[in-house]
Symmetry: C2
Subunit: 223 residues, 2 copies
């Protein structure tokens, strides 16, 4: 079985990506990040999803993006806003987060000789984050090739973003078909201490609308 | 004063880069990584160099590249070899290290609104690491633009690699002119517990030859 690295946050999108990668026959090595996020309960969700969907090996990398903050998710002085939908990049954007996550995934991929790296970015029902767009993903793929032994060995990594052009409802329908248990996942940026979702932030709003449009009961535990 | 992020390892090259960035008038924010490296004593050197050369603020990010190892510097089961110079990428190459380091630097740059990121890569007297070559640096610069708010704000980061085409002797001569105290720096991949250099690894060999060619006494403490 060819190997793949799958970035797994504990949210809805990356769980679906893991199910897709598994359905395509990959031995999946999943990677989560304890980066100082406000919604740290997603890490426990990631572990459960990894088990449910047959990750061959799950790792959690500890990095501290609170060293400089700059986001509502990594600085307690910045509140998580309710969903705005005004087309601007919201304060929940974490500077260079996917660049960092993909860089770590590339390192692990190089060690495992895995040529495929899966990430759950989406640019349809999304928060406008620049690091979720196709141009960034394409560019990263080339940078990863040039910055690793791949360049001397004349091959390249495939950065796979299977959700890129899907609506949230399509993502959920795909996941349900592939057996994802979405009750294990959590998407909220501002959960309470029991891990229950706020229902108001951008991420909760997109997620709930997705279940509604898909005609599938929303299994999220709300506050 | 415009701000810059300067990657600072505690070695000879990055100390010179910091001196160059300061001489160009930047307020320099320096960043080191405690990544599980065998030669961890370089972190203390980085702190001293930051002070000597007037870093405005020095941070050390803790990340764990021993999670997957794959290098003589991050896996105790792989020995540091003596310098080979056979043109192959040596086992001291750390998978995707500069990709990870530059990604963190980009995140901090975004928060500080610094548009310049300095890195001490060199492709003349170097170990052949792919992540030290100009094509990688150029590609990273574009990826960093596309994966951050810069893309919506129509500007880009400048990834500055002032040592790229300099010989080790030229680097040392430049640093001496700019007041770098190289006795504070350490380059060895395999130092003893007192922080003294082995004199045999690739990094020691390149460093010592650089001092010899430059006609400057080598201040390195050897075992």
């Amino acid at each position: 079985m060819p190997r793949a690295i799958v970035l797994l946050s504990g949210g809805l999108d990356s769980a679906t990506v893991l199910a897709i990668a598994r359905s395509r026959g990959f031995e999946c090595h999943t990677l989560a990040f304890d980066y100082g996020q406000r919604h740290r309960c997603e890490l426990e969700a990631a572990e459960k999803v990894a088990v449910q969907l047959g990750s061959a090996e799950h790792k959690c990398a500890k990095i501290d993006l609170r060293l400089w903050g700059g986001s509502a998710l990594t600085d307690d002085a910045i509140d998580v806003p309710d969903a705005a939908g005004d087309g601007k990049i919201p304060v929940t954007y974490v500077p260079a987060r996917n660049l960092i996550f993909l860089s770590f995934a590339t390192a692990w991929a190089e060690v495992l000789q895995a040529r495929h790296i899966f990430i759950g970015v989406n640019s349809v029902d999304y928060s406008g984050y620049p690091d979720c767009r196709p141009a960034f993903i394409r560019s990263f793929q080339e940078t990863a090739r040039l910055g690793t032994c791949a360049v001397d060995e004349a091959w390249h990594y495939e950065i796979e973003a299977p959700l890129q052009n899907m609506s949230k409802a399509e993502i959920i329908q795909t996941g349900v078909k592939l057996g994802v248990d979405y009750s294990l996942t959590t998407s909220c940026y501002n959960p309470d201490s029991a891990g229950r979702s706020c229902g108001k932030c951008d991420s909760c709003t997109l997620r709930h609308a997705g279940f509604e449009t898909a005609g599938i009961p929303d299994p999220t535990r709300y506050q």
